[in-house]
């Protein structure tokens, strides 16, 4: 069982085609691993913002808020999963929602592996060495995007072009969801104030 929880994710990030195939067809992905990775990304990001070395840390400590990380990582993650699922079901993708969650979460593993050590290392860096910090965090991001690409390609059984297209559409759908969400939210607010006004009107008329 240890195989599935540690070895397989590490195998997947270096052999993505192989790994994602096994994840889909050999049923080797675990939701527990996926959510742990997500939680670790959140923790890594919080730690990075708070404890990265002075030379690379441009955050105003008075405005750091750990809940923001939830907003900027967990929410977009699920938005991505939902919108990717919405797009791919319409475009003949073979992936199930669970597989999308797994593929996306497993793609985040490089971030967990690279960013915390770099946070630690950045505390011992001088100005000239900070390029390595930026370089490696950049590598983590590119790796993540690459894995996400291979992941969606494999689980949906798409061609490369179609994967790029669906990923692009997913991002647009994410924006649409956010837009609709805020719209519904403000409508609800207006309905609420309307009802409150009606109530006040009634009690003041008496």
């Amino acid at each position: 069982m240890r195989q599935e929880y540690f070895k397989f994710p590490l195998h997947l990030i270096v052999h993505p085609f192989d790994g994602y195939w096994d994840l889909k067809y050999e049923n080797r992905g675990r939701l527990g691993v996926a959510f742990s990775v997500l939680a670790l990304v959140v923790i890594a990001s919080i730690v990075q913002r708070q404890y990265a070395g002075f030379l690379v840390n441009f955050n105003d400590p008075r405005r750091l808020n750990s809940f923001d990380e939830l907003l900027y990582i967990v929410l977009p993650f699920f938005l991505w999963c939902v919108s990717n699922w919405s797009v791919t079901t319409l475009m003949g993708g073979e992936g199930k929602f669970k597989e999308i969650v797994l593929a996306s979460a497993y793609a985040l593993i490089p971030m967990v592996l690279i960013n915390p050590p770099m946070t630690l290392a950045s505390r011992f860096m001088v100005q000239e060495e900070t390029v390595f910090y930026y370089l490696l965090t950049m590598v983590a991001t590119i790796w993540f995007i690459g894995l996400l690409f291979v992941g969606s390609m494999t689980i949906h059984q798409y061609s490369a072009g179609k994967t790029v297209l669906t990923m692009f559409l997913s991002v647009i759908v994410m924006l649409i969801i956010v837009f609709l969400g805020t719209l519904v939210f403000s409508m609800m607010q207006q309905i609420y104030t309307f009802l409150v006004n009606v109530y006040r009107e009634i009690i003041f008329r008496q």
Partner: protein, 481 residues
Amino acid sequence: MSAKRWLISLAAVSLLTVLIPGTAAASAPYESYNYNYWEEATPAPAPYLPVRSVTGTELGIGEFADPGDMHVSGSGHVYVLDSGNGRIVCLDDSWKVVRVIDSFIREGKEETFANPSGIFTDDKEQIYVADTDNQRIVVLSAEGKLIRVIEQPQSDVLPQGFQFIPLKVTVDQANRVFVVARGVYEGIMQFEEDGTFLGYVGTIKVKRDYGDYFWRLISTDAQKAQMRLFIPTEFSNLDIDRKGFVYATNIDVGSKEPIKRLNPSGEDVLKRFGYFPVAGDIYYRRAVGPSKFVDIKVLGDGMYSALDSTQGRIFTYDDTGNLLYVYGGIGNQLGVFKTPAAVEMLGEHQLVLDRGKGSIVVFEPTAFGQNVNQAVRHHYRGDDVEAQAYWERVLQLNANYDIAYIGIGKAKLMKGENKEALHYFEMGMDRKNYSVAFKRYRREVMKEHFGTFLSAATGAVLLYAVYRTVRHRNKRRVKEA
């Protein structure tokens, strides 16, 4: 009812308690502040406090009428250019009238000034007056005798029908005369001692606004004719430092560089290494707009003060472009101005000429201002250790003063106290120096612990080798047995 009465008495008590400290704290009619690393205006102690105002009536020479400029000479005489009355009032440093010059003899005839607007005195105490409406620069001796006159320059560079309307004037140590003239967009006019026109220095470049450029592309000729011209702004004032660099201000709305320091070939060499542009207020309400500098004064040791006419504030910077302090304002009390026109320095005091009120306001440095000045002066002269003591006193008065942390950090770095320096640079948000200090500190720590590390590593390797041989031997023994 009793509850109401109780509330009223509570309100009365709270009013009283508010009033008592309020009256005690109202010593400056303005609120001083400074910008921190995050570009927020944070309150700071007042660097200067008004001590008195000097009017013409007090001096017994009649009210000043629209005084346009003021200059303090090297010997400590204050020359006030009383533009409306067309006279120069010379005061000594204890505010007594030395003489009043309202005319001079030129070729046997008595001549007067017509709305003069700029005055300067050189180190020989010669007075240079920009006699605006007479279109000339008048050079007088300290006693008011005419030395020479610079009039309408003759040069191929100048356009046909050029009108020479001088506004402000400055002279360098080689007696070259720098003149800001009205309607001259090419820069500051430079004259030889004898009055021959040398050329322009420090042309302000016109920035291309791509939005405007786009509109010009699609508009018709008739529309283009109605658009405003893209001409550079004029300079508003100037001063000169000991090295012969001209400090000039211009009213260029939206510019990040309203203050320039021009080297002899006319390039802007002002250091702008602070966290934000050397442009006065970096954060302002749209109604009062960006700062408009109308005067600049070189204070020596790299410091300079610029006078903002919109908010009546004096901004003082150090040689690397750090904002040191801000004071002043618009209003009616002593220490705030109606129309500030000129800022000068007399010893440790700063003087501001208020054109609107017709008075000179004398400001005295507070303990905070004095310590900042001393610290900056010592630092500029390379005496960081001496500066540190002043910076520490500054921090006691204002713990939000970033430059003081950086100053102490630099002193510590100089003394080789790298670890302490790190702390101070971090407090001052100075990443560049932090990096330098960190590099030294890291090397120091590594040097100190390299021996320990090496012996530990050797020990580990030896232990491992012993372990391997013992195990190997044991195995062989088992095999043999």
